[in-house]
């Protein structure tokens, strides 16, 4: 078990390194840097000025060097200037231009390994604090999504799967298929149109969740939660249904029936536990998809969480913020995969990792 865990951890770290390097590479391509220089500096800069601007900020170093600096395994760049008759130093680890003496005392390494996530060029704030706040907001959203999605999906799946082929099964399965076929930007639009638009007249909920960041309540928070939950729900429900239907055909269920155990008892006491093994891994593997849904829903409802930040960072080529966002999302994806694997082993006695 320990060896398995270590191997998985190694693969995880390797994956995370590769992925962040890809993001790093793509965001640091010259046209992207040029756009960054022009949006941060001046739209009418000449090519020479753009090069100068980028060079002064350390963007023109070789790609592996920059990546190592961002990671914190290479010393950050420094550059000396003459300003007001004295030598000042700017650098990756320095806050603006500082005198040479002060610069010598600053730490030489400052990457994410040292806990320095960098500075966001769009929000003009440190990346760590932005990610912290936004993740908090999204975490709150996800909490309610899970609270709505998981129980209702399991209920749907178990009800549909306990009598395969019955009319209840047909109805619930059609509902589940419909929700999986409805991406968030469609269900969100339909839900807003029905429940929040002045044109229909049912103004039960708010069409935007901006107010929910400060003061979430049922009126302004329910639609975004429902929109994300609906898309994931169908898939989990179908997996639960398949697993439940399989368990219901097992020998021991037949034995229980022949023994005269009542149907509710068979479902609750005999079938349910074994039927819930597969959905557990499915729920865990749903996290990456939920991340997708979060981006769409936060954009649609203008809820300024993690997904919204991703769109802002990507749209404006905010390199360090984008890298932090991808690190976080990659870690979320990989950790949930690991948990689902380990959970599967613990829940299913027929499988062992050794």
């Amino acid at each position: 078990m320990g060896l398995f865990f270590l191997r998985r951890l190694g693969v995880m770290i390797l994956t995370a390194l590769c992925l962040t390097f890809i993001v790093f590479f793509l965001t640091n391509l010259y046209p992207n840097l040029e756009k960054l220089a022009k949006t941060q500096g001046n739209m009418r800069m000449t090519d020479a000025e753009v090069t100068q601007w980028l060079d002064n900020r350390g963007y023109l170093q070789p790609m592996p060097v920059k990546y190592a600096q961002w990671l914190g395994v290479a010393p950050g760049w420094t550059r000396e200037f003459q300003q007001d008759g004295q030598t000042v130093v700017t650098g990756r680890c320095l806050d603006g231009a500082v005198p040479a003496a002060e610069a010598a005392e600053a730490p030489r390494f400052c990457g994410i390994l040292q806990g320095d996530w960098g500075y966001s060029t769009v929000f003009r704030d440190s990346v760590a604090s932005i990610i912290g706040t936004r993740l908090g907001l999204t975490g709150y959203l996800m909490f309610w999504v899970m609270l709505l999605m998981v129980p209702s999906a399991l209920l749907l799946g178990v009800l549909a799967g306990m009598r395969e082929g019955s009319r209840t099964d047909r109805t619930l399965s059609t509902f589940a298929i419909t929700t999986t076929a409805t991406p968030e930007y469609v269900s969100g639009v339909i839900l807003i149109a029905v429940f929040a638009s002045s044109a229909v007249g049912l103004r039960w909920f708010k069409g935007t969740a901006t107010a929910a960041m400060e003061n979430p309540n049922f009126e302004n928070f329910f639609l975004p939660v429902l929109t994300i939950a609906l898309y994931g729900m169908g898939y989990i429900a179908r997996m639960t249904r398949a697993s439940m239907a399989e368990v219901m055909t097992a020998q021991y269920i037949r034995t229980a029936r022949l023994k005269g155990v009542s149907f509710p008892n068979i479902v609750m006491k005999h079938a349910l536990r074994n039927a819930l093994i597969a959905p557990f891994t499915v729920i865990m593997l749903q996290f990456p998809w939920l991340l997708n849904g979060v981006v769409i829903v936060e954009t649609l409802f203008n809820y300024k969480g993690f997904g919204w930040t991703l769109v802002q960072a990507a749209g404006n080529n905010d390199i360090e913020l984008l890298l932090a966002v991808s690190v976080v999302s990659v870690i979320v994806v990989l950790v949930t995969q690991l948990i689902s694997d380990i959970g599967y082993v613990y829940l299913n006695p027929r499988i062992s990792v050794t």
């Binding site: 992925l19 930007y185 469609v186 807003i192 638009s197 044109a199 991703l310 994806v333």
Partner: protein
């Protein structure tokens, strides 16, 4: 002129009927629930000639019957709208619903012909024919074919659309459905905006139909190419295992661990397009179909060089030419043909579409890879594979002509599901305004534009949203039907 009403002169007749059908259905449903909760059983069943026949009916059966007839009544009303829409020439009599149904006349006829032919010959059509034994499969197939025909007749054949999807007519900005086009007769326009005008005064109905063509141009082909990539890499990974498998699986997991939207933002922005990365990716990814086809032919006819060599040469020349004309785009990074030979370049894919195509393909292929790999690992232990090995067949022959045909069931089902998923991805791209030009009528972009004024004007955003929903739902139902029927053997 008066704006059109929703139901026109048909309304007073058909609307009460439809309402009655809905009310009857709900009543019967409640009665059915109540009765089954109260413990009512269905009537006696007798068996005659192996078929179950109800001898006496209980209240429970009557409630079921009421539900069935309510649904039939509702469908009959819908059919009446379609028939009336095709038969009555005047839009004012048939209303918006009738007129829209009438505009789709070529689609209805094509659907009718397809279904009639397929059901007539269904015993000779293999898995496709068996689809017509499953209710869900038929419904799904009907929805999918509806949009396929709508795309073909509306896009290149220009039959269904009423206006140019990019044309703006002043005075119709955000006008509700059924609005009259001012001075239509003089300017030669169709006299109504059937589903209203959008924020830029373009016809919502025409954009919806054109959007179907945009999706049909990309989604099935991107999925097909993703399958070729996935199959070409997944078969050896599953068959050989070992280092190759570890390496390819690592790559696949790497792409899968990326949040899709982040990947799109990184690949589909104008700055990245400028660096040429998507074009290089296209050059690599489009190699896989050529590899796939040529290895397939080579492994099959390896023992008959006299037949194999000419066939392979012809196929390679044709595919290679297509590949080169596809990859070569003047003005981009891959621009190798000299101007004198530009006649060799058969076609150019507009840059935006190529990038979107590549991005969608790239996102889809790792999942296909994993499915194919899993299936191969399962199938390679079968006896017929061992038999082929004993016969001395080559490795690629075994993979492509023994394993792949036996994995087709799950792959066909996944293909249908994946087209739906690709449609969703295309919509996502449009929703974030990535890739396709902003005035493009594809559903995602239209939803994105419509959502900004959603709380006041519903009509620009809802038609594309519902179209996308119905197409993906149809594909899912079709996949379900196929799965059921292929499991039945």
């Amino acid at each position: 002129m008066e704006p059109l009403t929703w139901t026109g002169a048909l309304g007073p007749v058909l609307t009460p009927l439809m309402m009655a059908a809905v009310a009857l259905f709900l009543l019967a449903l409640v009665a059915n629930w109540g009765l089954s909760l109260a413990g009512a059983k269905s009537g006696e069943i007798a068996y005659e000639n192996g078929q179950a026949v109800l001898v006496s009916r209980s209240p429970l059966d009557y409630s079921m019957m009421a539900m069935k007839y309510a649904i039939l009544l509702f469908l009959a009303c819908c059919l009446a709208y379609i028939v009336a829409g095709m038969a009555i020439p005047d839009p004012r009599t048939k209303g918006i619903i009738g007129t829209v149904a009438g505009r789709f006349a070529p689609v209805w006829i094509a659907l009718l012909v397809t279904f009639a032919l397929s059901i007539w010959f269904k015993r000779r059509l293999g898995l496709y024919g068996k689809l017509f034994d499953s209710g869900i499969g038929m419904v799904g197939f009907a929805i999918v074919m509806f949009w396929v025909f709508a795309a073909i007749f509306g896009g290149p054949l220009d039959l269904i659309v009423t206006h140019d999807p990019l044309n703006q007519i002043s005075g119709l900005k955000n006008e509700p459905p059924g609005s009259v086009v001012p001075n239509a007769a003089e300017d030669g326009y169709y006299p109504y905006y059937l589903l209203g005008g959008d924020n830029l005064a373009r016809d919502v109905f025409s954009r919806m139909v054109e959007g179907a063509w945009e999706v049909m141009k990309i989604a099935p082909f991107a999925t097909l190419f993703a399958f070729m990539v996935g199959i070409t890499l997944g078969l050896p990974a599953g068959f050989y295992g070992g280092r190759l498998d570890t390496f390819l699986s690592f790559l696949a997991n790497l792409i899968l661990a990326f949040p899709v939207i982040l990947l799109f933002y990184l690949l589909v922005t104008p700055e990245i397009v400028e660096t040429g990365i998507p074009v290089y990716m296209a050059a690599v990814l489009f190699l896989f179909p050529i590899i796939f086809v040529s290895v397939m032919i080579n492994s099959r006819y390896y023992t008959q060089p006299g037949f194999r060599t000419p066939v392979l040469a012809v196929v390679l020349v044709v595919l290679g030419w297509l590949y080169l004309s596809l990859v070569h785009q003047s003005g981009t990074k891959i621009d190798f043909l000299p101007a004198a030979l530009s006649g060799l370049d058969l076609f150019d894919i507009p840059g935006g579409i190529l990038v979107v195509f590549v991005a969608v393909m790239f996102v889809n292929s790792p999942t296909v890879f994993r499915i194919v790999r899993g299936l191969t690992m399962d199938i390679k232990t079968r006896d017929y594979v061992a038999a082929a090995q004993t016969r001395g067949e080559g490795v690629w022959y075994i993979m492509l002509w023994e394993i792949l045909p036996n994995a087709r069931g799950p792959l066909i089902v996944d293909f249908c599901l994946r087209i739906g998923y690709t449609t969703i991805l295309l919509g996502t791209l449009g929703f974030f305004g990535l890739g396709l030009p902003p005035e493009s009528p594809d559903w995602g972009s239209t939803i994105n534009e419509g959502r900004k004024l959603l709380s006041i004007y519903l009509h620009p955003a809802l038609p594309p949203a519902l179209s996308l929903l119905s197409l993906v739902l149809g594909l899912n139902l079709l996949a379900d039907g196929l799965r059921e029927e292929s499991l039945r053997d």
